[in-house]
Each structure stands twice: as structure tokens, then as C-alpha cells.
């Protein structure tokens, strides 16, 4: 129902009767808001076009001369739109959002090391600690050795990060396939979807962890 003229005639963003802008529902998910299906390999160009088009529809710059209620709606809608665009534009934020949407908000994505990297990372963190305390002027040999070792770890972790990301993107493809199958052939791919969501969640938390370590290394090694 229109907040202004109380009419029930509807309209997507504007009331069909009084032409006043309507508030987007706070429950509207970002995919729907950006007119996208709930998939992960999105058409980024189309996303940008929708963003620009909706910005032209809602932006406060076009509501300066309207009354306070319309201004407030324009502001709220644009803030939602900006959040939707920001989240969906970035593939990692996009999948994180999808996981929250599909699996409920309870499961936060944490930062956890991949199991096979556990030993290596422990050692690396010790080396980092030592390197930070070594004075290169007093003990150049140890400093150089540690530096070389840390540099090698950094390169290894960087390639590992790439692997994690391509593994994640591979699951993007599988997710989109499952989404395409939904409703067809009477098969419910829900169990497969949930498994896939869990895999993606693990990959994401590993990625966050590895990225943080690489950032630490970059800050220390300069």
C-alpha cells in the first residue's frame, strides 16, 4: 500500500496513482534488489547498469525539492542500493552474503588456517617474531637468513591464496549449475547446495587467514 495516498494499485518503485517514490522493503535481499538471480557468476556489466539506473531513480540529488518523507525514502533506498552494489560487486563479499542468506545469519565466517598449512604457519609465526626482534646491524647473518626464509614462505602462501581462490571460483560454477537445476526433474538439490555452501565457507575462512598472514609478512618485510 502506498504510504502517501494509501492506494493499493502498486507499482515497482513509484505508486501508480500518486507517483510518489516508495520505500524498498528492508527485507529485500541484495540479489533481488539488483534484479539478479541468486547466482555467483554474475554479469558485472549488467550489475553496474542496474546500479546506475537505480541510482538515477533514487538518489537524494533528485529529491532536493521534495517533501521530508520523500527525501527520507530516497536516502534509505539509496543507502540500501549502495550496500547491495558494494556487496555484489566483489566476488568474496558476494559469496559471503549468499552464504549468510542461504544458511541463516548464525554462521559467521571466521578466519581459520587450512589444516595442511597448520605446521608451516606455526613455524612462520615464530620466524616472524624472531625477525622482528633481530637487529640487522648486530646480527646481519641471522636477519638475512630469516628474511630469505620469510620471503620464500610469502611466495608459497601467495600461490596458495591463488589456489584457494580458484577452488572457490570452481564452486561458484557448481553453485550456479545447481541453481539452474532447482525445480527441474523433481529433484531437490538442497543437500548438495548445503554441502557446497559449507565448502565455500571453509575456503573463505582459509582465504581470510592466509591473506592476513601475507599482509603481516608484507608489513614486516616492507
Amino acid at each position: 500500500m502506498c504510504w502517501h495516498c494509501q492506494s493499493e494499485v502498486g507499482g515497482e518503485y513509484f505508486c501508480k496513482r500518486c507517483v510518489k517514490v516508495q520505500p524498498l522493503s528492508p527485507d529485500l535481499d541484495y540479489f533481488t534488489c539488483m534484479k539478479l538471480p541468486r547466482i555467483l557468476q554474475i554479469d558485472e556489466k549488467a550489475l553496474e547498469e542496474t546500479f546506475y539506473e537505480l541510482s538515477r531513480t533514487f538518489h537524494p540529488d533528485f529529491y532536493t525539492t521534495r517533501d521530508e518523507s520523500e527525501k527520507a525514502i530516497s536516502l534509505g533506498n539509496t543507502a540500501l542500493l549502495n550496500a547491495a552494489y558494494r556487496t555484489l560487486k566483489d566476488p568474496f563479499q558476494r559469496v559471503e552474503y549468499l552464504i549468510r542468506l542461504e544458511a541463516g545469519s548464525a554462521k559467521d565466517i571466521r578466519s581459520a588456517p587450512p589444516a595442511d598449512l597448520f605446521e608451516e604457519i606455526l613455524e612462520l609465526q615464530e620466524d616472524l617474531e624472531t625477525y622482528r626482534t633481530v637487529n640487522p646491524a648486530e646480527d646481519p647473518e641471522t636477519a638475512n637468513q630469516l628474511r630469505a626464509k620469510l620471503q620464500a614462505s610469502r611466495e608459497h602462501l601467495e600461490s596458495r591464496l591463488e589456489e584457494l581462490e580458484s577452488a572457490l571460483f570452481e564452486r561458484f560454477r557448481r553453485w550456479d549449475e545447481l541453481q539452474g537445476q532447482s525445480g527441474h526433474d523433481g529433484i531437490d538439490p538442497r543437500p548438495q547446495k548445503d554441502a557446497l555452501l559449507r565448502e565455500m565457507q571453509d575456503l573463505l575462512s582459509h582465504r581470510t587467514y592466509v591473506r592476513n598472514i601475507i599482509q603481516d609478512l608484507a608489513d614486516t618485510l616492507g
Partner: protein
């Protein structure tokens, strides 16, 4: 609907522009000049703003305020390093700087309002209509307090500020309008007091800011100071004089340094001369462009560091930009042009006057807001991360820097103790880990119903609007009741203070008019004095000695009045001189007429 003007409220100069049809134009002053120097003189007879105040700077530096923009939204602690460069006394009250002049104090928004009022008056005189609404530009890297202070300045000046817009993005609007540019552009904005870099994507009339960075304390002023420091050192070595405490000579040195810097943009060497006080002689020196470049080099490098950070945030390489636009007076320096060219690997644009393009862009934004321009839309970002202080004095970020605005973030708060009735919230802006290293924006207290610990659930919404200014609202999730929040700004004026200043500003306005009337009366007196003396030298022999004596007496009275401060008295004396010279004027006219007739006859004879 009434017209909306665009205002560039600069550190050194300010401008006002309007849309003439589809073309933005600067509104010139009465003598055709576009810039109003951002200088205010608070004299015994009222205010002087702009060019007249600049002249006053050397005469009475302790009552002449310049570069006020550097103090907007700041506390005393923020500016201790540069206090020695300012000849006026500065205090702090409630976290806001106050300029002390005589027995009165003025906050930076009040001083800025005096400049805004001058621009308003200029626009009204030129356009012949009342102007009550404006778009005002600020450096992109201005924080919430600085933006709020600018908005307050507008209010105090009697202007509804429809939008605070970032200077580099304003410039991009003016460029985009003129050149129909598409693609990625960098706007490098190096002004009198601030530096900004903004990276934008331009597509079909949408101007999307991808990232911005900057330094609100880095500008041409800092280059001038390098020169000033060198000059002071040399005066000390050569003449054994320490003039740092002498306001008048310091201002003379500062203005001379600025002049030499500007000239060195077009010339390889420039001579400098400064009269030393008490007849100690004259400081003279040649400056070369290379020397200036040497003094400014590290400041220019600091701007490039900001550029690197902005590129990193936007996920771009310097070489990917399609165009680079130069804005701000400091980009006239060949050193700046060269380093920007090298950094981005392409020749920067400076077709539009870098000192006017921001005001022109503000006028374009005004046309968008008024509804007359539906083609263009600016999507800007917040320059700094916004967060709240959490346990252990750590900042928890709610809105990251370079997020497109308007944007909002919600945070849930609860209690730790049974029956706790309030929660203190401290809002911060900045990129550092610890709360104390970031800018304190505001503090407020959330009211909570007395319940067992952890039961109350208050959802607080932090919204940054299209001006980059924060709004806070709160809602009790259990009851759905919203509560109004009184936010106490850490470095801003309260609403009451602003209201008080608005009332006070009407009084300034009256003083203002007085000061202007005095200047006008003096100017007229001078021209009357000159004209009468000329008339006497030509026609004294045509009138009686008594008449001559009475004219001289009237002239003496006018001279005395002119040196006084009463514009009415000057006007009265002017009338008396006119009365006393009435007969002389007639006689002269007759004589001239006769001459003219005689020469005509002569010419007829010659024919």
C-alpha cells in the same frame, strides 16, 4: 524556484558561480575580479572582506584573519605546530578554536560566514535577486567535523546549504560537462591549504568516485612557509634581526613569499625585496625556480603518496587512468605539473582555470539539485572509515573509507550490568587501530530500560548522508520505540551556539555595511579632492580671493573628515565642498565654453 549558487570556499580565495543556461559562470565582483581573497579584517568600524581586508593585513595583522579554512572543525591541539605562523590570537572553547580579536572571540564558522556573506552579496548584486540557497565545496578529505563546520558557516551567513560537495568531484563535473569525457579520470587537487586526489569513473553522465585520499593540511600555504622560514633565517644571519615576533613584517614577508612563488611559475628567477623595521635596511634576494622546487619537493612527494593510496583502494594502476585533471592554484607550479605527469605517465589537463573549476562544478551540482539537469549524477564516497570505540580503546569499523554515500550501518547494543540504564557511545573517524589515534567525532548516551544484563537490545543506525555528514538514530528492538539522540560533537558548535551566531551575524551585517559605506565615502572624497585641486589650479584667477579661501577651508575640513571613521561626516563635507565650488565650476564651464566657441571661430576662419 529561487536560484541556487555554487560556492568554492577556499583557503586562499573564494568564488561564487551560477548556471547561465547550461553554462556555469563565475560571478565577478564590482571591478570584474573573479576571486574574493578569503581574508576578513575586523576593524573598529566593522568588517572588511576580500581585497580590502588583504590591504589591511600588513596594517593590522592581529585583526586580520586569513586561511581560516585550516581551522574549520579543529581543536587547538590539532594546530599547535603552526600557531607561530598566525598573527592573531587563538583560544579553544568546548573543543572548538576561537579567534580572539579585541574583547570578542570568533569561531572559524563565523569567520567563514563573513566570506560567504560577501559572496552572497556579490551574487545578489550581479543577479539582481535574493540568494538563500547554495552548494558549498569542501576538500574531499574533510572529516565529519570539518563538513559540519562548513554547513554551520553557511547557516550563519543566511544560506541554506543544499549540499556539501567535494572539490575534486565538483571539478570533474565541470570538466565532464565541457568535454563529455568517458572513462577513468584522476582529479589532482592541490590548493592553498589542502590536497585531494579523487579517482572517478565517468559513464553516460554518471560520475562515480572509486576512491579518494588526501591531506587537509597540505597546500600552497606550506610552500610559502618554506620560503618564509628561509627568509627569516637569512635575515637573522645577515642582519642579526629576529622578526618572527613582529606581526606586520611577518605578514609583509608572507605576502612577498607568496608573490615570488607565484611569479616563479612563469619566470625562471624573481627578485625579492623586504623593508626591514626600524630603518635596519632592506633584505634583497634573487630566487630561482630550482631553489623553490628544492624547498617544495618533499611536499609534492607527499601528494604522490596520497595518490598511491587512492590507486590501491580503487584497485587501479597509475597507467590505467584515461585522463588526469589538475585543480587548485598550487598546480600552476611547473614542478607539480612535471611530477604528476611522471607519476601517471600522461600529460595532465589544465584547460579550465584550475582556480575556478571547483566553483563552476559547484554550480553544475546546483543545477542537478534544482532539477534542471537530469543527465548528470555524482556518486561520491566517504573519505574516512567510521567506527565506534570498543573495549580496550580499540576502534571497531562500521563503515569503511571509500564507501559510496549515502550509506548506513546498524549496530546492536546491550547492557553488561543488571539494571544498567545507559550505554555510552563514542563515534570515531579514521584508519588507525586505536580509538585515541583517530578523530573523535561525537559522544552520546543511549537510554536503556532497566532490565537484567544482556536483555535490552538497542539498534543504532549510523547514516552518512550525501553530504558526508553523520546522522545517528536508535531503536529499542523489543518495543520498537525509537529514541532521539543528542549527539555532542567533539569539535563542533552545538545547535544553540549556531543559532546564537546566526542572530549575531545580523549585527555584523549592519557593521559590514558601515565599513563599506566608509570605504566608498573615502574613495569619493579622494576623487573630489583631486578634482577640486585641479579646478583651482586652472581657474583660481577667475574667482575672488575670498571665494578661494572658503574653498580651501572646505577642502581642509573634508581632508580631516576623510581621515576619520564617520562616513556620514565625510558625505556632509563632500556636500560642503560641492557647494563652495559651485560658482567656480560655473565660471570654469563658461570659460571652457568660450574657449570652445573661440576655437570654433578660429577653425571657421581657418576654413
Amino acid at each position: 524556484m529561487s536560484r541556487i549558487v555554487g560556492i568554492d570556499l577556499g583557503t586562499t580565495n573564494s568564488l561564487v558561480a551560477y548556471m547561465d543556461g547550461e553554462i556555469p559562470r563565475i560571478i565577478p565582483g564590482p571591478r570584474g575580479e573573479n576571486k574574493v581573497p578569503s581574508i576578513v579584517g575586523v576593524t573598529d568600524n566593522g568588517l572588511l572582506v576580500g581585497e580590502p581586508a588583504k590591504a589591511y593585513l600588513v596594517r593590522d595583522p592581529s585583526r586580520t584573519i586569513y586561511s581560516i579554512k585550516r581551522f574549520m572543525g579543529k581543536s587547538l591541539a590539532d594546530i599547535t605546530d603552526e600557531l607561530k605562523y598566525f598573527p592573531y590570537a587563538i583560544q579553544e572553547k568546548n573543543g572548538v578554536i576561537r579567534i580572539v580579536i579585541g574583547e570578542k572571540t570568533y569561531s572559524p564558522p563565523q569567520i567563514s560566514a563573513m566570506i560567504l556573506r560577501e559572496l552572497k552579496r556579490r551574487a545578489e548584486a550581479y543577479l539582481g535577486e535574493e540568494i538563500t540557497r547554495a552548494v558549498i565545496t569542501v576538500p574531499a578529505y574533510f572529516n565529519d567535523s570539518q563538513r559540519q563546520a562548513t554547513k554551520d558557516a553557511g547557516l550563519i551567513a543566511g544560506l541554506e546549504v543544499l549540499r556539501i560537495i567535494n572539490e575534486p568531484t565538483a571539478a570533474s563535473l565541470a570538466y565532464g560537462l565541457q568535454k563529455k569525457t568517458q572513462g577513468l579520470i584522476a582529479v589532482y587537487d592541490f590548493g592553498g591549504g589542502t590536497f585531494d586526489i579523487s579517482l572517478l569513473k565517468l559513464k553516460d553522465g554518471i560520475f562515480e568516485v572509486l576512491a579518494t585520499n588526501g591531506d587537509t593540511h597540505l597546500g600552497g600555504d606550506d610552500i610559502d612557509r618554506r620560503l618564509v622560514d628561509t627568509i627569516l633565517r637569512e635575515i637573522k644571519t645577515t642582519y642579526g634581526l629576529d622578526v618572527a615576533a613582529c606581526g606586520e613584517i611577518m605578514q609583509a614577508i608572507r605576502l612577498e613569499a607568496e608573490r615570488v612563488k607565484i611569479r616563479l611559475s612563469s619566470e625562471a628567477t624573481v627578485a625579492m625585496a623586504i623593508e626591514l623595521p626600524d630603518g635596519k635596511g632592506r633584505y634583497e634576494r634573487m630566487w630561482s625556480r630550482d631553489e623553490l622546487d628544492g624547498l617544495a619537493a618533499d611536499l609534492v612527494e607527499r601528494t604522490l603518496t596520497c595518490c598511491r593510496l587512492a590507486l590501491k583502494d580503487a584497485g587501479l594502476q597509475a597507467g590505467q587512468l584515461d585522463e588526469v585533471v589538475l585543480v587548485g592554484g598550487s598546480t600552476r607550479m611547473p614542478l607539480v605539473k612535471r611530477r604528476v605527469h611522471e607519476f601517471f605517465g600522461r600529460e595532465p589537463h589544465c584547460e579550465l582555470n584550475p582556480e575556478e573549476v571547483v566553483a563552476l562544478g559547484a554550480a553544475v551540482q546546483a543545477s542537478i539539485l534544482s532539477g534542471s539537469n537530469q543527465d548528470m549524477l555524482l556518486l561520491d564516497v566517504t573519505p574516512l572509515s567510521l567506527g565506534i570505540e570498543t573495549m580496550g580503546g580499540v576502534m571497531s569499523t562500521l563503515i569503511r573509507r571509500n564507501t559510496t554515500i549515502p550509506t548506513s550501518a546498524k549496530e546492536m547494543f546491550t547492557t553488561y550490568v543488571d539494571g544498567q540504564t545507559s550505554v555510552d557511545i563514542h563515534v570515531l573517524q579514521g584508519e588507525r587501530e586505536l580509538a585515541k589515534d583517530n578523530r573523535s567525532l561525537a559522544r552520546f548516551q543511549l537510554k536503556v530500560p532497566p532490565l537484567p544484563a544482556g536483555v535490552p537490545r538497542i539498534e543504532v543506525t549510523f547514516l552518512i548522508d550525501a553530504n558526508g555528514i553523520l546522522h545517528v538514530t536508535a531503536q529499542d528492538v523489543r518495543t520498537g520505540a525509537s529514541q532521539s539522540i543528542e549527539v555532542k560533537p567533539s569539535h563542533g558548535l552545538t545547535d544553540e551556539e549556531v543559532e546564537h551566531m546566526i542572530r549575531e551575524s545580523f549585527q555584523f551585517a549592519a557593521q559590514d555595511i558601515q565599513a563599506r559605506q566608509l570605504i566608498e565615502a573615502r574613495t569619493e572624497a579622494e576623487s573630489i579632492l583631486r578634482a577640486t585641486e585641479k579646478a583651482l589650479s586652472r581657474g583660481a584667477h577667475l574667482i575672488s580671493e575670498e571665494e578661494q579661501r572658503s574653498i580651501h577651508a572646505a577642502l581642509d575640513l573634508l581632508r580631516a573628515a576623510k581621515d576619520g571613521e564617520d562616513h556620514r561626516l565625510i558625505r556632509a563635507r563632500i556636500d560642503e565642498v560641492e557647494k563652495a565650488t559651485h560658482h567656480l565650476a560655473e565660471v570654469l564651464m563658461d570659460a571652457t565654453l568660450k574657449e570652445a566657441l573661440e576655437s570654433k571661430k578660429l577653425s571657421q576662419i581657418l576654413e
